[in-house]
Point group: C2
Chain length 251, copies 2
């Protein structure tokens, strides 16, 4: 990796996420897809529908990371405040974008473009539209901020269309080893393996299986040979601690 | 509500959440439980296992909200950096807390308290321990920051033990109305209802059911009579737009 890896932040928008009505699944999706693209998702925030909260968070994340992806709040109703917030965050006027209006006319019919629907064709000046193949109303990009829908199937379709716009990095790969051991028994050996492999992020995730402790060790990095080497050291550590080779699951 | 409602933030900690390996379910749980207690969850952040990232986020949220709840990163392995980060954030030394050591001895046995396990008895000076009835290692509270486990079943058990320590507010209640209508048709009427009821937060959540559009309108507030009044107005709006009374589901 001669080029410094791109970084990203995700901004999840909506009261429904904070009051626990809706279980977010967009963060995990974006995390997986960005890793595969070699972009490191470094932070996420969840804010309410308050325009000022969205604007402050969007600007802070935009200054800090290569890319920002927002989800939610671009629909036709009063609680959809993301577009106005992004305009405010970056000092842009709101304009009806003719290309977006065309797409909505195609989706809803020429005569059915009410004021709320026209709101979905309104974007900050200078935005680049993001295709929505599912339901017409587009997302948009302002600078390094990609504004996506909140409904997962629409968000995913939008994200896939913009993937080619992202800087191409070495994909972040993972190796996983699971064994019926308590994680505290692995802790010291694992620290040593981590020290020997500073380019690999090693995580330890304990869980219970049929009432007995188990642990998954996950190694993440871009160099497959080095990943395999570190994974072999973890497997050896697990065997030293008494796990039978057949009990170590690799993924 | 003469007393100003308490606010809260959640800080979810762990590389596994940002790379999409693990689907978080702690945020929705905390959002629901805090609402029921009358505490408004205003913001959440997700950060990696980097000590400095955790410290910066914890301090920022601690200054801004009545309570902060962190999840994850308090186990025995090298990637569990939350305790050190919280100590750094608030300028406290790390100490082995005898009461925590006692609990771990009881859980693991007196002779099995290895250095990694002792790490789980190490907390910032002046912390108040939070009971862990599931797996021994306690959480802790420093000022207005509650540091909880990441494993949901443990996090939930810890949270329930500390509920009594939170300021008691008027529970935030919800009414929900679902109808087979597109949300853009409701948008204008809904804006008017929102204007008439500034103490109620009205959200509009579109979805597809058997390939047809539908929408749930959710009203949230603390006054049940006013909530019922606003919900009746939403139901009337839905009927005006052609929804049969029998097609409007209430929840």
């Amino acid at each position: 990796m001669s080029q410094k890896a791109a970084t990203a932040a995700v901004l999840l928008i909506g009261n429904e996420l904070l009051c626990g009505r809706t279980q977010d699944i967009n963060l995990a999706y974006l995390g997986q897809r960005l890793s595969a693209r070699g972009v490191r998702l470094a932070e996420a925030r969840v804010v309410s529908d308050e325009e000022e909260e969205i604007a402050v968070a969007a600007r802070a994340l935009s200054e800090r990371y290569t890319y920002v992806f927002t989800t939610g709040g671009i629909g036709p109703t009063h609680d959809d405040t993301t577009t106005a917030a992004i305009a405010r965050a970056f000092g842009r006027r709101l304009l009806v974008e003719p290309a977006a209006e065309e797409r909505l006319k195609k989706y809803y019919g020429v005569d059915a473009l009410s004021a709320p629907r026209l709101k979905m064709a309104t974007v900050p000046e200078g935005s680049v539209l993001i295709d929505n193949r599912v339901s017409g109303a587009p997302g948009f990009r302002v600078g390094n901020v990609f504004v996506l829908a909140g409904v997962p199937v629409i968000m995913q379709a939008m994200f896939e269309t913009l993937l080619a716009q992202l800087q191409d990095g070495a994909p972040i790969r993972a190796r996983s080893l699971t064994a019926p051991l308590g994680e505290s028994r692995l802790a010291e050996g694992l620290s040593e393996i981590q020290r020997r492999h500073p380019d690999i992020a090693i995580g330890s995730y304990p869980f219970a299986r049929e009432g007995r402790v188990a642990v998954s060790i996950v190694l993440r990095g871009t160099d497959e040979t080095r990943l395999d080497g570190a994974a072999s050291e973890v497997a050896a550590l697990m065997r030293d601690l008494g796990a039978a080779a057949a009990d170590i699951e690799r993924g």
